[in-house]
């Protein structure tokens, strides 16, 4: 790995791969860093090694990744898998841990394509072994062919839950129940956005086909579910919920939940890029222009890490950001950049027709986001409950970061990834303010834990002579 690149791309999902392909054969030094051993990000995970039978079940959207992976393999960009990027500064210095070697490298242009993570929504019992996120179910299936053996309850809201149910049904997993927490009132809010969504009707058709297939297979499906709880002594034994005013319970050793996905913003936060609350997507995302430029010169974002728009959109955004980086480096002219971007820009707009409808239809209810149950653990690492956070707010700590200092919530190994959003919602709710006015934990490097030995490596080189 060199100490300096003209273009550095972080993340080998659809945005990062497409960006690398665009930057290829331009005569620049360009590297792609990725944490995983295999390319594809989470969406196209193990796309190059997946057995054909499994790829068929995962569906056509997953298989789209094959063409992209092949294009990438033909390009001349330096690819570094199994590489942890643990810091990013506004001066475009990047902390990189690769093959047990820790160092700081720099780049003229940096594209952060860090992708998305599941939106963590605390509910009673969510820390019990046997409760997992739906994305975990997908990763297990895609990467290792590991599937539930004694049935699974799926609960939450969003397209991924439906997709996972459909994939599990194809492979013969017993789906004990589909518990949809999407409030019925969302239908009304989403209705005005339906006409635009019809312009991207292939997504709607796919969703309807999944629903039809699940219904035909006789999968128990409940909509408008509330009061979701996981129970068990040391591990999950049952799931309870309220439906049409009555309490129900299902015995299960496995519950997979999904409450939508949010951008993974820890690196852009560490760099102090400006972020904003996106009310429609119910998340924070880095501010960026149509090319992916953030508030810091030379740092760009693309893909779901810039705001949730899905894998196809991520590919287009990756190409646009790469063209912008090539323009900023003086490799292509503004006219060339603009001309080469026309097709991607058009397709990306087409992809986005579906988003406002999906965002309104699958919006997570406020009482779930703000964890109204006081005994529920919000910070999984430090085991801080919603009640403790509310008490901190009552004691005049009306800001996420103050709550963090007081309670230690967000100070565990995940560094607040699992509780930042919930804490912001609780602080806003308890303080009677909008979450947009509330704050997110400040992200600081290292954004992923390092050992002291790894940190000490940074002082090697010139200090060795002492």
């Amino acid at each position: 790995m060199k100490n300096h690149y003209q273009l550095l791309i972080i993340g080998a999902g659809p945005a990062g791969l497409a960006a690398a392909v665009t930057a290829s054969n331009q005569g620049i030094s360009c590297a792609l860093l990725d944490e995983q051993a295999a390319l594809g990000g989470q969406i196209y995970r193990c796309i190059e090694s997946v057995p054909e039978s499994r790829a068929q079940i995962l569906g056509s959207e997953y298989q789209r990744g094959k063409a992209l992976a092949k294009e990438f393999r033909d390009c001349d960009v330096d690819y570094f898998p199994e590489t942890k990027v643990w810091s990013l500064s506004r001066d475009r210095e990047v902390g990189v841990l690769h093959k047990d070697q820790n160092k700081i490298i720099s780049a003229d242009q940096i594209l952060v394509a860090s992708g998305a993570m599941e939106r963590p929504v605390p509910f009673p019992g969510w820390t019990l072994p046997g409760v997992m996120q739906a994305g975990a179910g997908q990763v297990l299936f895609k990467s290792a062919g590991v599937i539930p053996s004694d049935g699974v309850v799926l609960a939450g809201s969003g397209p991924l839950l439906l997709l996972l149910a459909w994939q599990y049904m194809q492979i013969g997993v017993d789906i004990k129940a589909m518990l949809d927490v999407t409030p019925l009132s969302n239908n009304l809010l989403a209705l005005p956005k339906l006409p635009r969504a019809l312009l991207a009707h292939h997504y709607l058709t796919k969703g309807l086909v999944y629903q039809r297939d699940l219904k035909r297979a006789g999968v128990l499906s409940k909509i408008g579910v509330s009061n979701l709880r996981a129970h068990g002594d040391g591990e999950l034994q049952s799931v309870s919920y309220r439906h049409l005013g009555r309490e129900h319970s299902i015995a299960t050793d496995l519950l997979m939940t999904h409450f939508g996905v949010i951008p993974h913003i820890w690196l852009t936060q560490a760099a102090c890029c400006k972020h904003q609350w996106d009310n429609s997507q119910q998340c924070w995302r880095p501010q960026h222009d149509e090319w992916g430029n953030t508030s810091i010169k030379g740092i760009l974002v693309a893909g779901d890490g810039a705001g949730i728009n899905g894998a196809r959109s991520a590919e287009h955004a990756g190409r646009l950001a790469s063209l912008q980086a090539l323009f900023a480096l003086g490799i292509i002219s503004q006219t060339e950049r603009d001309q080469q971007s026309i097709d991607d820009r058009k397709k990306m707009q087409g992809e986005r027709h579906i988003r406002p409808f999906l965002e309104a239809y699958f919006a997570i209810p406020q009482n779930m986001l703000a964890t109204t149950d006081k005994d529920t653990i919000v910070c999984r690492c430090e085991e801080i409950t919603a009640g403790e956070i509310r008490t901190a707010v009552e004691n005049a700590h009306g800001d996420s970061n103050q709550v963090k200092y007081l309670s230690r919530c967000g100070m565990g190994p995940c560094q607040g990834r699992q509780c930042a959003n919930a804490v912001a919602h609780i602080v806003a709710d308890a303080g009677g303010q909008a979450v947009s006015d509330s704050s997110h934990f400040r992200g600081r490097p290292p954004v992923t834990p390092l050992t002291l030995e790894q940190l000490a490596m940074l002082s090697g080189g010139e200090h060795n002579e002492y």
Binding site: A136, G145, E382, P413, C414, P449
Partner: protein, 101 residues
Amino acid sequence: MFKQLLNSDIENVEVILNNQKIMVPQNTTVAAMALAQGLRVTRTTPVSGSPRAPFCMMGVCYECLMVIDGISNQRACATYVKQGMRVETQQGTGPSLGDAL
């Protein structure tokens, strides 16, 4: 809870999980292996000792921390199995480096 679909194209490696020898297909993460082996609890928390297991499987939540080859606090979902690897359920903060030697 979980099972692993057979794939004859992939070679197996021998891993020692909580002192038991098992054969696991290569390209499997330690977390996927532990779940497929029926391990319900992969660590207990340092705060209250409560049991935990892999949650996100994509390196974000740090719930799947295990002791791998004597080193504690390793993300099992981001570590791939290797021939001869020793994997243990982590109790609290796990053994310190001195204990492992």
